[in-house]
């Protein structure tokens, strides 16, 4: 029998397939169906730093607006006993998801700076999260902010979160760091157990008729996987941190590539949104079939086999790849 078990973020999993942070965890029926189809673990949809802040501040602003200005209308809203701002709704859903499934459930916090909101990490732990994924969706638009400052701020945040919790911590990163491998080492030093590569940035599209930049959300494609494979492959075995892949995993072959690059966990969102969570069943069947056909005994046997350290031609991960491509006439023509 082929052994599909994996270990990610301190948890033994029946297979490496994890439902990535997405709207799926908002719907308990979907969650149950996903687990029945083979999902080994779940990352909750994200609780955003801005969401926590803006919900509270917007409420405050609108309750105060126009108040204490005119003698007849010193306020416009009844004084409620509670407003449940902050994470209460999220924590409740986390509890519900936990209760609905057997596998581990990882909470997801999305933010970029160490502020008062980090104490929500402790709250999600108390609510039963089996781990925490910190999603660092950092868009550094400030021209005065240096890469060093950005990385230092990230470490400060990870340390602040780490201090709040005892459960394992994963950090989900974007692909645009100057020295990703060094960064992964620093993350481990700051207290992260795992790194999830990479966040997908939803770049705005430009509407040339309305003259505006518009939010743009497209499901991922397998092509996007290459960046992940590249950096997981480069990092695997060379940095003391667990690695997971997210973004661009659509087929069993994609899953296999992730594991061979060195991923402990393989996360899916777009494929499940496109095909439904039942798609997991097909992926697992295909994975098992391929492994049996190729006579792989276990996932562990495959893991990292095509990483930089172990691949027959490591130059493919380095500048050599560039040179090779150029020689084949695929690159620029000058």
């Amino acid at each position: 029998m082929t052994d599909l078990t994996a270990c990610y973020l301190g948890h033994n999993l029946p297979n490496p397939l994890i439902v990535s942070s997405s709207p799926i965890t908002r719907d308990l029926d979907q969650v149950r169906m996903a687990e029945d189809s083979g999902a080994a673990a779940f990352v909750m949809h994200s609780l955003f730093e801005e969401q926590i802040e803006s919900e509270s501040l917007d409420l405050h602003h609108h309750l105060e607006a126009g108040s204490e200005s005119y003698a007849e209308s010193l306020s416009y809203f009844p004084n409620m006993q509670t407003y449940n701002t902050g994470p209460d709704g999220y924590l409740e859903q986390l509890r519900r998801v936990k209760a609905a499934v057997r596998g581990p459930v990882f909470a997801s916090l999305n933010g970029t700076s160490a502020g008062g909101w980090v104490h929500y990490a402790r709250l999600v732990e108390e609510a039963g999260a089996d781990g925490l994924e910190l999603n660092v969706y950092d868009i550094p638009t400030d021209p005065n902010l240096t890469s060093q400052q950005i990385e230092d701020r990230l470490m400060e945040l990870v340390r602040a979160i780490r201090q709040q919790i005892r459960i394992p911590l994963a950090v989900k990163l974007g692909p645009f760091y100057t020295a990703p491998v060094n960064l992964l080492t620093r993350l481990h030093g700051a207290g992260a157990t795992a790194a999830v590569l990479f966040n997908r940035f939803y770049q705005p599209d430009l509407n040339i008729d309305d003259l505006d930049a518009v939010p743009h959300l497209k499901l991922s494609h397998s092509d996007e996987l290459l960046t992940r494979l590249h950096w997981v492959g480069v990092a695997y075995g060379r940095v003391p941190i667990e690695l997971a892949v997210t973004g661009g995993v659509h087929s069993a072959r994609d899953v296999i590539k992730c594991i061979m690059a060195g991923a402990s966990g393989v996360m899916l969102t777009s494929a499940l949104l496109r095909h439904g969570v039942g798609h997991l069943r097909q992926l697992l069947a295909d994975l098992r079939h391929w492994m049996e056909e190729k006579e792989y005994e276990s996932i562990a046997q495959m893991r990292g086999s095509l990483s930089l350290n172990k691949v027959p031609d490591p130059t493919a991960f380095e500048r050599g790849n560039y040179m090779r491509v150029l020689r084949q006439g695929v690159g620029p023509t000058w």
């Binding site: 309750l63 200005s69 005119y70 407003y83 701002t85 003259l211």
Partner: protein, 1179 residues
């Protein structure tokens, strides 16, 4: 400090007791009593139990009359009940009050006593309302302070059960109802000790019950009615002793002792004042000061006014008293004296107390200040050779010369107290911070604390003045501070507008929020401010509070920063203790709104003290300039001499002769009040503007104007005056300008949001963009003056069915005091543009009557021809009927004029007479008819015969009149619905405009029947559980009036069409206008999108129902919006009124959302069916 001390308002003090002692509470909002109902509803929604461990049923009714009726029923059926009201609301309860008293029914109504609308409405305090009830048979008990409002509330609830008489428990509106003070309210054990179970049981046993049936409410005839009326006498005779017993029992329980008639002062006083209400506080201070100075004076406080116990009263007045002045806080025109005066006169006479001089006087109407100095003037009057009787005090009466002079320098302020006055903006949070400060000091220290707050007459950019007293001695000072040891100016530009340092006492502290640092600020101060600082040797401190607030994510809310400065400078608490107390208070106040709110406020506190600096005051004043004149020299004489003084806050000094005798005021005065409240104003980019008129249409304050004109006129244009070629096919060669009234703008940004044009090189810019106001002020002043002087276009050349052309019609509703971004005023402005020069407007009480008619300046204006809307507010409940009356008068006079004209046909000439008689009653015929009437008057000039004189007098009625009945949803859906329904069922040509904000906006957001399901409002704190009443459909199915539902932000052309169709319909018309409001809880600059969402989601389907179409065989019902295409929650959850329920009670929110979705779908199906059938489902 006592552990049981709290700092609360008078309303809360009374409501705590009322709630505890009641099973049914029927409520209806009216200022200044609304707070008591709001608290009751809030407590009930929180599950707070009453004295018997059960949560009272709190029900909002459609009017105060309804509340009284419901309560009457509840009392008859055996439930202990209460209500809260004031002013006109109390008057509406009077019919039921007779019944309740006649049936010897125990209950207590708590009244925040308020003026009655007579020559003008006033929301402020006096005893006119309660005095209008003194004949109803109710016992009347007066509280004089916040402490008493709770204590006497309890005594009333106890006494009503034993006496079986209903009680009016009243205290002064605002001065007591809204004063925040440290008090020790009755505990639940004390309440328990006062309310006797046996009496409660007896009350319940008298209830109507089929198990022991009786009959009440019989019709009685001459044989028995009189005797039956006399049966109650023993109850009234017994009442005073029972009340005194209750007071004595309360004293045993609480240690606080009250008397029916309580004398304070010299035991051998020779002169005494008799009065009731909050003025007693000021009078008592005067008594103590005068006695300390060797005089012999006293004060007799009347607590039980009805039944009046002459024996107890006479016994309370020392035998030594030789002269009495009775002060009434009411006016009874034509009476021999006011009620308390007459009662005291009768009492002393019947008690045999002769040999005493007795005078009566009036004071304090509409919260007019009553100070110890005025009380002294009253005492002084008593030793005059011939004491003035029927005097007034506190005003200057130069007409009937009744007023007493007083010396403002006479002060009884406690030198041991800190007296602080804060000038702030409503929007900067000053009042809220001060209320917190009072709580901190009142509850965390042994000091006594008092706060009273004075607000603006405008809703946008409103100024607040907070009066705070703290001290080791109990505070009885029921008047504003005139000698402040601490003055704070929270907005630098106030220095130009107000003489705030006039309130500072010598050696005091002046805290100034200043963008200029300690080394620069002096040169920026107006000269008068510099001079006062020097003359009074004030210490001056500055802080750039706005910078501190912004740096800490607080936006413009500088409240916490300034509060921290106050504590640091006043020394009320040691600094560290004060900082800790402020932070604790922030935590307590804001924690439930979320940690980020608390953290930002804390950060602001921490950042404050390093930025607070004392200014080294130079030896002499250096500023060259004086304050700017408040109004232009071009303003009319009345505006210069009267209005301007009211604007300057000097209205108290205006003598009686300065004011109109019958409440008639000039229109168009808002143009003279340049408030400069916008930090940023819109600036036109003429190079890309397509001149569509959208910005003009949406501007709530009519500050954006468009004009086309002959380019030759530009020769004299100011240098920065902008213009472009007019983009109208038929106006080629003409110039167009879009001008902003920069000093009148509120900075709401609605115009920018409405602009459909984007700058091609920099699309964040539109054809109108916001820019800082101060640098533009001088240039724009010249541009505005030039623009106003340009000729108005000939209306005959403008298409009234085109938004683009309507922008060129001069609005005759401008610069109102409505909130920034108000969703109501664009409709009124459009009506004024289309029909203003021949409009008569009946305006229900509410927001639109306040921003439409609140002094000192009002927005309804007139054109260059002197014509414009004539406007009046009658009441809240009667507006449809009032408007119908206007129409009836116009029609009758027109009919009479036509009759007279027919008789004088030969005299005036057949052509003119026929022209006058055959003119169509349409807006288009106004100007030619006005010209004919002018000719008619010229022809009849000099005639002395009765027919001609009469015709001249009524000739104007031959000009078409557009009668508009305007009001909010509180009026149309609730209190005025009966009248509205009646008027819509007449044939009268009236146009009803309902400005539907879906909530009682003016009184602070209480639920109306227009409030949609799932919305949170006051009186619906748990979310409204029923559907919004479909007023439009109710009217449409009657089949004979024109009905439209409009939303200008969703479809402006549709709104324009509907208003024009409504006006042209020769019978009653109803237009219900979607009006986004600050009470909805969203950024009103986004209201155009939100109006679209309201329509697209099916919440607000647009339709018109025009009975005229039937004649053409068409369906009168036209559905003008598309089927719902937007999920309802995408509309609802943009607004705090809906999201707050999701946060507070997600399960209920989800359930109500589902119900609301079903409701929207069902309504749409119904509308579709009506629009699809041959005759619209109505005949």
């Amino acid at each position: 400090m006592a552990d049981d001390r709290v700092t609360i308002e008078g309303n809360e003090a009374a409501a705590r007791v009322a709630y505890a002692c009641s099973e049914v509470i029927a409520i209806y909002p009216i200022t200044p009593s609304s707070g008591m109902g709001e608290l009751s509803d809030q407590w009930a929604s929180e599950g707070k139990p009453n004295l018997w461990g059960s949560v009272p049923r709190v029900v909002e009714m459609q009017s105060e009359g309804g509340a009284a009726g419901a309560l009457h029923g509840a009392l008859q059926a055996g439930a202990l009940g209460t209500t809260f009201t004031a002013s006109q609301g109390l008057l509406l309860m009077i019919p039921n009050m007779y019944k309740i008293a006649g049936e010897l029914t125990p209950t207590v109504f708590h009244i925040a006593a308020r003026s009655i609308a007579a020559q003008g409405l006033s929301i402020f305090g006096d005893h006119q309302d309660v005095m209008a009830c003194r004949q109803t048979g109710w016992a009347m008990l007066a509280s004089n302070s916040v402490q008493e409002a709770g204590d006497l509330a309890l005594i009333a609830h106890a006494a009503t059960l034993e006496t079986r008489l209903p009680f009016l428990h009243f205290f002064d509106g605002f001065r007591t109802s809204h004063e925040v003070a440290t008090v020790t309210p009755p505990t639940i054990e004390q309440i328990r000790g006062m309310i006797r179970d046996d009496l409660v049981t007896a009350f319940r046993q008298r209830a109507l019950s089929p198990d022991h049936p009786v009959l009440r409410g019989t019709a009685q005839n001459p044989d028995v009615y009189f005797q039956a009326r006399e049966t109650v006498n023993p109850y009234y005779l017994a009442c005073p002793a029972i009340v005194q017993n209750a007071m004595d029992r309360f004293a045993e329980l609480s240690g606080r002792r009250y008397k029916l008639y309580e004398y304070v002062g010299h035991p051998q006083a020779e002169r005494a004042i008799v009065m009731m209400g909050s003025g007693c506080g000021a009078a008592e201070e005067a008594v103590e000061a005068l006695n300390a100075a060797g005089q012999k004076v006293g004060l007799l406080k009347v607590r039980l006014f009805r039944p009046f116990d002459l024996i107890a009263f006479a016994a309370a007045l020392p035998e030594s008293v030789k002269a009495v002045a009775v002060l009434d806080r009411t006016k009874e025109p034509g009476a021999l004296g006011e009620p308390l005066y007459q009662d005291v006169l009768t009492a002393l006479h019947e008690a045999g107390r002769s040999g005493m001089s007795l005078v009566g006087g009036r004071y304090g109407l509409s919260s007019k200040e009553f100070t110890p100095a005025m009380a002294k003037a009253v005492f002084d009057n008593l030793i005059a050779t011939r004491p003035r009787n029927h005097f007034t005090v506190g005003i200057v009466d130069d007409v009937t010369h009744l007023s007493l002079d007083h010396d403002p320098a006479f002060s009884t302020e406690d030198p041991a107290s800190v007296r602080a006055v804060f000038f702030g903006l409503g929007a900067d949070g000053t009042v809220g911070a001060n209320k917190n400060t009072i709580k901190i000091i009142g509850e965390d220290t042994p000091l006594h604390a008092q706060g009273y707050f004075v607000y603006d007459s405008k809703k946008s950019g409103s100024v607040t003045v907070s009066h705070l007293r703290f001290g080791p001695n109990p505070i009885r000072s029921t008047y504003l501070i005139s000698r402040a040891s601490f003055v704070a100016c929270h907005q630098f530009h106030f220095l130009e507008r107000f003489d705030m340092l006039g309130l500072a006492e010598a050696g005091g502290t002046f805290l100034l929020n200043s963008p200029h640092g300690p080394d620069e600020v002096w040169s920026h101060l107006p000269r008068s401010v510099q001079e006062t600082i020097l003359a009074k040797r004030l210490r001056l401190f500055v802080i750039d509070a706005l910078a501190v607030a912004k740096e800490n994510g607080m936006g413009g809310r500088i409240n916490t920063v300034m509060q921290t400065c106050f504590f640091a400078l006043s020394g009320v608490l040691p600094r560290d203790e004060a900082i800790a107390a402020i932070k604790k208070s922030i935590q307590k106040t804001y924690a439930k709104r979320g940690l980020p709110v608390v953290e930002r406020n804390w950060a602001a506190v921490d950042a404050t003290l390093d930025r607070l600096f004392e200014v080294k005051v130079p030896a002499e004043a250096t500023a060259p300039t004086r304050r700017r004149p408040l109004v232009s020299a071009d303003a009319p004489e009345f505006v210069q001499s009267v209005t301007a003084r009211m604007m300057a806050g000097e209205g108290n000094a205006l003598p009686v002769s300065a004011l109109p005798v019958d409440g008639t005021w000039p229109t168009g005065t808002s143009q003279w009040e340049k408030r400069n409240i916008a930090l940023e104003i819109p600036v036109w980019d003429e190079s890309i503007c397509i001149q569509c008129g959208k910005c003009v249409l949406v501007c709530p304050h009519a500050v954006i104007r468009g004009k086309v004109f002959d380019p030759a006129l530009l020769d004299k244009a100011p240098e920065t005056f902008k213009h472009a070629d007019a983009r109208w096919p038929d106006r080629k060669g003409q110039a167009f300008t879009l001008q902003v009234a920069h000093e009148d703008c509120t900075g709401c940004r609605l115009c920018v949001e409405a602009c459909p044009v984007k700058n091609k090189s920099e699309p964040r810019l539109k054809a109108i963009n916001m820019a800082p106001q101060p640098p533009l002020r001088d240039a724009e002043a010249k541009n505005w003056d030039f623009f106003r002087a340009l000729p108005e276009p000939d209306r005959a050349t403008l298409r009234a069915d085109s938004v683009k052309d309507v922008q060129l019609m001069r609005p005759l509703f401008e610069f109102s005091g409505a909130c920034a971004g108000c969703g109501e005023t664009p409709y009124l402005k459009m009506i004024s543009q289309l029909f203003g020069d021949h409009a008569l407007i009946a305006n229900a009480t509410g927001c639109s009557s306040i921003y439409g008619g609140n002094l000192p300046t009002t927005p309804w204006a007139k054109g260059d021809d002197g014509c414009g809307p004539a406007w009046s507010n009658s009441l809240f409940e009667d507006n449809a009927e009032f408007g119908l009356g206007l129409r009836l008068a116009v029609d009758k006079q027109a009919e009479y004029a036509r009759e007279l004209l027919a008789r004088l046909r030969d005299d005036v000439g057949a052509e003119l007479a026929d022209g006058l008689l055959n003119a169509k009653p349409t807006s288009a015929d106004v100007r030619p008819q006005r010209e004919r009437v002018k000719q008619l008057k010229e022809k009849l000039a000099g005639r002395t015969d009765a027919v001609a004189r009469d015709l001249i007098a009524v000739a104007d009625s031959l000009i078409p009149r557009s009668v508009w009945i305007v009001g909010g949803d509180g009026w149309a859906y609730d209190i005025g619905y009966g009248g509205l329904d009646h008027v819509l069922n007449t044939t009268a040509n009236v146009n009803v405009l309902v400005l539907d904000t879906e909530v009682y906006s003016n009184t602070g957001g209480q639920m109306s029947k227009a409030t949609p399901r799932a919305a949170v409002a006051k009186f619906a704190a748990a979310g409204k559980r029923t559907a919004k009443k479909d007023l439009a459909l109710l009217a449409a199915v009657q089949g004979q009036c024109y009905v439209a539902r409009v939303a200008f932000g969703a479809n402006d052309t549709h709104t324009l069409t509907a208003l024009r169709e409504a006006e042209s319909f020769p019978g009653p018309s109803l237009v219900i206008a979607y009006s986004p409001c600050i009470a909805h809880g969203f950024d009103l600059s986004k209201q155009l999108e939100q109006q679209k969402a309201a329509v697209q989601s099916g919440h607000w389907p647009l339709f018109r129902y025009d009975p005229r179409r039937k004649a053409a065989g068409l369906n009168p019902m036209q559905l003008d919006s598309k089927p719902p295409s937007l999920p309802l929650k995408n509309y609802l959850y943009n607004e705090t009124r809906f999201t707050v329920l999701v946060q507070n009670d997600p399960a209920s929110a989800e359930m109500l959302l589902r119900e609301a979705e079903a409701e929207v779908a069902d309504r749409w199906k119904l509308y579709e069916r009506l629009a699809a059938t041959a005759n619209g489902g109505a005949s």
